[in-house]
Structures are given as structure tokens and as C-alpha cells.
């Protein structure tokens, strides 16, 4: 069965003027958001609630010799204290070798004990009263050091701190490298060959405002309900079921998610702590990380270091890429293998090249773990790959805009995607969007050549850069939805999608209103509850617009078809002769031959079912142009302007996409090239900036102008011809900033962010650290 419409049929079904699609409509949750009545998980009230607290390790690497908890247990109000000896033997991660509390601690902040008490204050006091004796072990923080013989070993199960590359979640042959063609032949064909190393190793934090939180209620023997504030609610059920075992029935109830940017796709950490403490006490337990825990003990971007050779022809054709790609995941991995797979696929989407030999390694070190962040492997890869390509462009004296435009995937090109299969790209050609972006930015005037500033003004110099990114995960994984038609002319969408900022729930309502021609007010969407709502992978990888909406559209179409099948005999016509709008059905061309839903259905409802199967043959694209000003006296780099260019087929919600694209700055995006970093003290393993004063973020006072160029060339996706792009907004910008800053100062920078220290060091004005 085809799960997309052939292009010709799709264009036929598209109509010039939609009732809601592409129109500005208010977000369904607007009133709740602006009145503060939106219930994030910490806002929900429970009876008999206990508060969970985590006692954390002060050492980056140590064996626990003894834990004395009697004093803490004696404190009035303490109901449970669990340590590695008493916690359920739940294992998680890839591979599943990581315990929620272990005999060893592997980073500063690793969990040693979890406590449930009547108040948060009592739980904290209990944590202070627990005495722990450690056997301190030598730590390792650098990826290459960790791989050397004799390096401290984090796990008995891992040789040389290296993790297996296979990602079981992506299928039996997940992509574990980029290898194809013959690189030696490719280098022989090249006009220039360059070699270098670039690293994106500042492990920035996506830092959603709402810290990771969960409430769990374990009902013996085998039922657990978790209230979550996550991006992907159904995924909580799936992953927790894997951790707890098949005999445990997991129910996940989702509400609004106060920011995620990937990091709160699901939060097994807080959920497992809450579930274990609830299992031990029989009461609901809430665990809300403090902002310090969020910054120091939740998840960061993976770190990337690539050493590679690039071969390029004078016309910008990339003939060969060969190199080593190191990915640092910190003390454990849940998804780093998947990020590698997706990143490896995305490299081929951005760079047409017949000959690749890029071999990755995933390394564990004694720092807080890496996890999912917007850009999912690809941003981390691009931050090194585009500078590596740039060295060749510089040598061949080529304009990077032209080279990136030329090499981006075109219809008919192909790539190995994350599941290891080859896909032929059937989306639009992004050349026009890129050219419109360049025109808006006035790239041709601003580009002066490699390592040349655009303008000089006293001690200040400006420079420009460009980056590109794209993802074929816009059609990833499975989505399902039901649409129920009620006799009163209303419809209800059953979906586990929650709102994490993209307007996804409102967009589900919009497409159903469009298909059924009902008012927006006539459509409701159920709360997200896996007991009620069907399988839905959830919004991730920009899949909301294609995958999620496809399932919702299919459910609405199915419901409409069933409604017509039921009504046709009543009106004595064929199903295909009917139309409906605003709760009325009529015969095409005979509007007087009509019947209201309530008269047709009486006391009956109609249920439509929609299912979406994965499709990796479409990819989105974002090209970002940036201009920076470098103060050569202070080393400060200021972002002057951003132009983002993309093509989304059809805009569903104009203010929604505007917000998503403006999001290029935050959540460990462009600003991770300018000033954002997690500072790890390499002598103690402590994160030095785990608070929101020392962790730098952009304020209202420092907003650069952003122009978003959004083209609408129909895609062969669903009946509205749209694809999503929000996830990748952060990804092309960082390498563009590195390029722009290097051009401004006339020297290549190789590390992120471009701090005053690094700029002044490159200018020879100060020494390195």
C-alpha cells in the first residue's frame, strides 16, 4: 500500500483557498497559557503526595563502599530511602547496561540514593543526613584519553570505554558509518585535497525553562501511572515498559511540556526515581529536578570531534571524504547511537559525494550524559563537517553558498538513511529557496572571499558565513489517531500529542477542521493518555507536520467516508455524491437535498482511524546566513543578522512557523557558537556553570534581526503538501557563525563557542588557556 499520494493526484486535491490551512488562527491553548492555568506537571495537585529527592555524588568516578542511612531514616516524614542495594534492578540505555542506582558513580552528580518524604524540605534534610563512604577512582574526561590503553574504565561491560554503534530502536541494520564508493579513487579525481580537525565539544544544554519532572503512582503488583511533562508521551510508556519489564502495565498521562528541544522527549531518569519510590511507599511520588540538577545531571548535547580529508574539484564537486568521527556521550548513552545514524544520513543529504569513508566511535567519559537535542546528531556533525569542507572550498577559492547549494540533495539523488536502507529523494529542489535566502541576505555583496572581512570599521570587523542542514526524519516512525464524529456536528481527535511549543495540537485541530469543513470550535482533542489514545511516536525530528498530521488527516477522511456510507442510503445516492460542511451533508450539485448530522446519525457516533507508516524519502532543508561583528580589542563577537531560508510545501500556521524558525538562536542553537557552553572543570569533573546566571543565554536586549524566507512548493506528502522544519532551525547556524567569525578575523577558528579568549588567541593578542 502506498502511504503517500502520487504527486499528480495530490496537486489535484489541493485547493487554492483553504478555510484554515495557512491562515493565522489562535493557539487552542492560548487562554490557558496567558492566564497561567495551563497545568504543567508540577502544577497538578495530588493527595498523599510524597516528594522525591536525589543524593548525588561529589566525585566523578568512585566505588561506593558503604552507605549509612539510619539517621536519615529516623527523620520524621521520611518514607523511603533507596540505594543501589535496595532499588529495583532496572536497566536502561543502549546497550541496556546502566542501572538507575549503581555501586559505582561515574560523574559529579551521579545518583547515590533516592529519598521520598512528606515535604521537599524533609527529603532534602534526609539527603544531608546520609553518610556515604567512597573509594575514589581516577576519572577520564577527554574522549581520546578514554580510548587509550590503561585509561580508567567506566564499565566492566565496555572495552576501552567504547560503546557498540548499533541502535536497535532503528531496526536490525541501523546505519553505523558513512562508507560508500572508493575514496582513493575520489582523491585521485580531486583538484584540491585538504585535511583538518574541527570539534563541537562545548556540550551546551538545551535548557528548557521547565526542569525535568514526573509524578508516578505504582499500584501493586504491576500497574504504574506516570504523569509526565514530555515531548513524546507514548514513548514514555514504550521505554518504561522496556525498563520495568513486560509484566508491568505502564500508563502515561501527558500535559503541556514547558520546553524540551528534544531533551525531554522522555525523561526516564526522573520517572524511574519516582516509580521506584512509589513502588516502595505505595503513594504517589513527585520528582522535580532543581535547575542545578537540570544543568549538571540531566542531558547535554553529544560532543563531536572529526579529523578528515576532503577532496574537491574546482567546480565544487566533492569527490571524497575520509575521516574519523569521535562522539562523546558522557557517562551513558540512551540515544547517541541513533544520533550517529541520523547524523550519518543527514551528512549525505547535505553533501552529494560518491566516495565516503567516515568511521565513528562513541566514547564514555566521566561527565554528565549526552542525550537528545534538536539537531539530533546532525547539528553536532555539521559543526565539524562544514568547516572541513570549507578548508577545501578555501583552497579551491569557491564561494561556500554556491558549493552548499550545488551539493544539497536534489530530486532523484539518494542516501542511506538511519535504518541502513537506501532511499531515493522525491521532495522538492531547494535551490530556489536557497537563492531567495542569499538574495535577502545580499550574500553576493557581502561575500569577499575566504578569511576576508566583509567590512572594517576601526577596531571592528564584520564577516559572513553560511550553513545548511536537512533531515529525512520528517516522515519517521508510526503515528495513529482516531477522529470521532458526534451527531451534534462536532468532532473529537484522539491523539497522545501534547503541546511542547510548536502548536502541534492546534495544527491537528486545523487539519481536521479543513477535512471535515467544521469550525475550529467544533473540534476537540483528547488529553494525552495512553489508556485512551492510540500509538503516536510524538513530535520529533520535524515529523509533526508530515507524519502526525497524515495520521490525523487519514482518521478524519476515514470518519468522513464512514459518515457518507451511513448517509448515502438515507438520501438514496452513492457515497461519492456527498459533501459535508458545518454538520450538514448534501448531494453534490443539489444543495437542497441535505440532512443534518444529528438527523442522519441520531444517537450514533462514527469513528475514523488513521495510521501513518514511516517514509524516509522526503527531507526538509534549512540554510542559514549570518553576519557577525568582531571587536578585535575585546574579542567579543556580536551576531548582527540572520537569514533562514527553507521550503515547507505549505505553511499550516504562519505565527507557529515564525516562532519555530526564530528558535534558531536558543536551545543550544546558534548561540552555542557564540557564547553558550557547559564548562566542565577537567581537574574535578564539576560543571562550573550549573546555574542560570553563569550559564549564558540570550536576553531581550540582544536580539538580532531575523528574516525567515519560507517558500511553499507542494511536496508529495499529504493532501496539504506540507512538511515540517522546526527541529532543524538551530542546526545550520553554528557552523555559519564559525565561518563568519573566521572570515572577519582572517584566521580559522576550530572550536566552539567563539569566545573572546579564542578570538584574541587567534589574533595573537593573548595566549591559549
Amino acid at each position: 500500500m502506498l502511504f503517500w499520494l502520487p504527486l499528480e493526484r495530490m496537486v489535484e486535491t489541493m485547493i487554492d483557498s483553504y478555510r484554515y490551512i495557512g491562515k493565522e488562527t489562535p493557539r487552542r491553548d492560548g487562554a490557558e497559557v496567558v492566564t497561567g492555568s495551563a497545568k504543567y506537571v508540577d502544577d497538578i495537585r495530588f493527595t498523599n503526595l510524597l516528594y522525591g529527592e536525589v543524593l548525588r555524588s561529589p566525585h566523578p568516578h568512585a566505588r561506593i563502599k558503604r552507605i549509612e542511612k539510619s539517621k536519615a531514616e529516623g527523620l520524621d516524614g521520611v518514607e523511603a530511602i533507596l540505594t543501589w542495594e535496595s532499588v529495583p534492578d532496572w536497566k536502561f540505555g543502549t546497550p541496556p547496561i546502566f542501572r538507575i542506582l549503581d555501586r559505582k558513580v561515574r560523574f559529579v552528580g551521579d545518583a547515590v540514593a533516592i529519598i521520598a518524604a512528606r515535604t521537599k524540605g524533609i527529603a532534602r534534610e534526609a539527603a544531608r543526613l546520609i553518610e556515604v563512604e567512597y573509594e575514589v577512582l581516577p576519572p577520564v574526561f577527554d574522549m581520546e584519553e578514554a580510548m587509550k590503553p590503561g585509561a580508567p574504565q567506566l564499565y566492566e561491560e565496555l572495552q576501552g570505554n567504547e560503546l557498540p554503534l548499533y541502535a536497535p530502536v532503528l531496526g536490525p541494520k541501523s546505519l553505523t558509518e558513512i562508507v560508500m564508493g572508493d575514496v582513493e579513487k575520489g582523491f585521485a579525481e580531486a583538484d584540491v585535497i585538504t585535511e583538518g580537525t574541527f570539534g563541537y565539544e562545548n556540550i551546551p544544554n538545551p535548557l528548557p525553562p521547565e526542569s525535568p519532572s514526573a509524578v508516578a503512582l505504582w499500584q501493586e503488583p504491576n500497574k504504574v501511572t506516570v504523569w509526565v511533562s514530555n515531548q513524546q508521551v507514548w514513548l514514555n510508556k514504550k521505554i518504561l515498559s522496556e525498563i520495568f519489564g513486560d509484566n508491568v502495565e505502564v500508563r502515561a498521562i501527558g500535559g503541556p511540556c514547558g520546553g524540551s528541544y528534544g531533551s525531554k522527549v522522555m525523561s526516564w531518569q526522573v520517572q524511574c526515581y519516582a516509580a521506584a519510590l512509589s513502588k516502595a511507599t505505595g503513594k504517589p511520588v513527585k520528582v522535580c529536578f532543581s535547575k542545578e540538577e537540570h544543568l549538571a545531571a540531566f542531558v547535554l548535547r553529544p560532543e563531536t570531534r572529526i579529523h578528515a580529508r576532503v577532496g574537491m574539484k574546482k567546480d565544487g564537486t566533492v569527490t571524497a571524504i575520509s575521516g574519523k568521527w569521535l562522539l562523546g556521550t558522557g557517562y551513558y548513552s540512551m540515544t547517541t547511537q541513533s544520533q550517529l545514524s541520523v547524523g550519518a544520513g543527514e551528512a549525505q543529504i547535505a553533501v552529494r559525494c560518491a566516495n565516503w569513508d567516515v568511521k565513528p566511535t562513541i566514547v564514555c567519559t566521566n561527565r554528565n550524559a549526552s542525550g537528545i537535542v534538536r539537531g539530533f546528531g546532525g547539528q553536532e556533525l555539521k559543526c565539524a563537517l562544514i568547516p572541513l569542507l570549507s578548508l577545501a572550498m578555501e583552497k579551491a577559492d569557491l564561494d561556500p553558498f554556491e558549493v552548499l547549494k550545488k551539493n544539497y540533495v536534489k530530486p532523484g539523488d539518494g542516501y542511506y538513511w538511519r535504518d541502513g536502507n537506501w532511499y531515493s529523494y522525491r521532495g522538492v529542489d531547494y535551490t530556489k529557496a536557497m537563492e531567495k535566502g542569499a538574495q535577502t541576505f545580499v550574500w553576493k555583496d557581502k561575500w569577499k572571499g575566504w578569511l576576508k572581512p566583509t567590512a572594517l570599521n576601526g577596531t571592528k570587523r564584520t564577516g559572513v558565513g553560511v550553513g545548511v542542514h536537512g533531515n529525512a526524519d520528517i516522515g519517521e516512525d508510526v503515528s495513529e489517531a482516531y477522529v470521532r464524529l458526534d451527531p451534534d456536528g462536532r468532532a473529537v481527535i484522539y491523539s497522545s500529542v501534547t503541546e511542547h511549543g510548536t502548536g502541534q495540537r492546534s495544527n491537528c485541530i486545523k487539519v481536521v477542521a479543513e477535512v471535515l469543513q467544521l469550525s475550529l470550535e467544533a473540534i476537540s482533542i483528547t488529553p494525552s493518555d495512553t489508556l485512551i489514545t492510540p500509538i503516536e511516536w510524538g513530535p520529533a525530528g520535524s515529523r509533526g507536520t508530515y507524519a502526525i498530521l497524515s495520521a490525523v488527516i487519514a482518521a478524519a477522511e476515514d470518519a468522513k467516508q464512514k459518515l457518507f456510507q451511513f448517509t448515502a442510503p438515507l438520501l438514496e445516492v452513492d457515497t461519492g455524491d456527498l459533501e459535508t460542511a458545518d454538520g450538514v451533508i448534501w448531494v453534490k450539485g443539489r444543495p437542497d437535498n441535505r440532512i443534518r448530522w444529528e438527523d442522519a446519525l441520531e444517537l450514533r457516533t462514527i469513528l475514523g482511524h488513521g495510521h501513518f507508516n514511516p517514509d524516509y524519502s522526503l527531507a526538509n532543508c534549512m540554510m542559514s546566513f549570518v553576519e557577525v561583528e568582531v571587536d578585535t580589542e575585546t574579542g567579543k563577537v556580536t551576531l548582527l543578522r540572520v537569514v533562514n531560508a527553507t521550503d515547507v510545501g505549505q505553511i499550516i500556521d504562519p505565527p507557529g512557523i515564525r516562532g519555530q524558525l526564530n528558535g534558531c538562536l536558543g536551545s543550544a542553537g546558534i548561540d552555542s557558537a557564540l557564547f553558550e557552553e557547559t564548562v566542565l572543570d577537567q581537574s574535578t569533573g564539576c560543571i562550573l556553570n550549573s546555574n542560570m546566571i553563569d550559564y549564558k543565554w540570550r536576553t531581550f536586549s540582544e536580539l538580532p534581526p531575523i528574516d525567515n524566507v519560507i517558500m511553499e512548493t507542494p511536496f508529495a506528502s499529504h493532501r496539504f503538501g506540507a512538511v515540517g522544519v522546526g527541529e532543524i532551525a538551530t542546526s545550520p547556524g553554528p557552523s555559519a557563525v564559525l565561518m563568519a567569525t573566521s572570515n572577519a578575523i582572517g584566521v580559522w577558528l576550530h572550536e566552539y563557542p567563539v569566545t573572546p579568549q579564542r578570538v584574541l588567541n587567534a589574533l595573537g593578542k593573548v595566549g591559549s588557556k
Binding site: V33, V34, S37, P256, G258, K291, R658, G666, T699
Partner: protein, 180 residues
């Protein structure tokens, strides 16, 4: 430890704190029991946990992000850095107090945030609205620069800043149109 708790409990007996929140007079007991206001409780904690006014969001709990902003004595303040026991006699407005208490109608600034989709995840929105409201109360027609300055203590990670500026400008009668 026990001795300290006893002393603390005793010293807090029979004390009450009076404050006005969203036009309502509150008289709260100060004490160690969970239903009372502890001397160490922040205003944000009291609003959320004692009074159930969960519209005030806590993010950093450290005075850095502005999520918990309320208006006290006409000024926008981060309620996580103020102890409730220091608020005797203070007049406080939270996000729940912005609408019309009789009709339930939204404040024009709240409506403007909806009209401009001036939020994404929405978690920081109540704090941003309170900071903007405090500005508009004092300066009904601020410039864009004045709005940026007034909101510079409010963290928004989704980057809804541009749409927030549109919303505040429109609410102040200066519709700035697109800023990005």
C-alpha cells in the same frame, strides 16, 4: 537537631502575616507545620504550594530567569528571591489577578499575547506578561527599546521574543508589526 526544631517551632507560634493578593486579603499563619508559612518559604513557594496559585511558574528558583515574576508594590519582582515573611502588608498581583474578576475577561495584554501567538511552550509566558504589565502600568506607551530593557530579565528558550515585542507594542497602542 530536634532541639533546633523545637526552638524554631516555638518562636513561630502565634505569628501571622497579612498580605493582599489579587485584591484579596490573606492572613497566613507562620509556623513549621506543612500548611503554615515557614520563615524560609519564598513568595513563589507560598503562592504555588500554600495558596495553589500555580500560574506563577518556577524555573531557576534563583532570581535569574524571571519565570516567577509577580507585581509587588507596582514593581515586577522575581517571587523566588523574596521571603514571604518579608511581605507583610504588601499588595501583590499574580498572573491569576490580571483578568477582570467579575467578567473573567482577559486583560488586553493577555489577549494581545494570544493574538500574536507570543509564546511557544508557554512556561515563561506568565512571568513575561507580568514584567510587561508592570512596565505598561508605569509607562503606557513604551518604545521598543524600553520593552526590551523591561523584559531583559525574562528567559525565553523557544525564542518567542520577537512575537512578544509585537504583542506588547500592540497592547500599548504602538503596533510595531514585524520585528524580525
Amino acid at each position: 537537631m530536634k532541639v533546633n526544631e523545637e526552638t524554631r517551632k516555638k518562636s513561630e507560634e502565634d505569628k501571622r502575616i497579612s498580605l493582599i493578593i489579587n485584591g484579596n486579603q490573606y492572613s497566613l499563619e507562620v509556623g513549621y507545620e506543612s500548611y503554615k508559612v515557614k520563615r524560609s518559604d519564598t513568595l513563589a513557594h507560598t503562592l504555588r504550594e500554600t495558596l495553589g496559585l500555580t500560574g506563577t511558574k518556577v524555573s531557576c528558583d534563583d532570581g535569574a530567569c524571571g519565570s516567577c515574576t509577580v507585581i509587588m508594590g507596582g514593581k515586577a519582582v522575581p517571587s523566588c528571591t523574596i521571603l514571604t515573611v518579608e511581605c507583610e502588608g504588601k499588595d501583590i498581583t499574580t498572573i491569576e489577578g490580571l483578568g477582570d474578576p467579575k467578567t473573567g475577561a482577559l486583560d488586553p495584554l493577555q489577549q494581545s499575547f494570544i493574538d500574536h501567538t507570543a509564546f511557544q511552550c508557554g512556561f515563561c509566558t506568565p512571568g513575561i506578561i507580568m514584567s510587561a504589565k508592570a512596565l505598561l502600568n508605569k509607562n503606557p506607551h513604551p518604545t521598543e527599546e524600553e520593552i526590551k530593557e523591561a523584559l531583559s530579565g525574562n528567559f525565553c528558550r523557544c525564542i518567542s521574543h520577537y512575537q512578544v515585542l509585537d504583542a506588547v507594542l500592540a497592547a500599548s497602542g504602538k503596533d510595531g508589526g514585524d520585528n524580525d
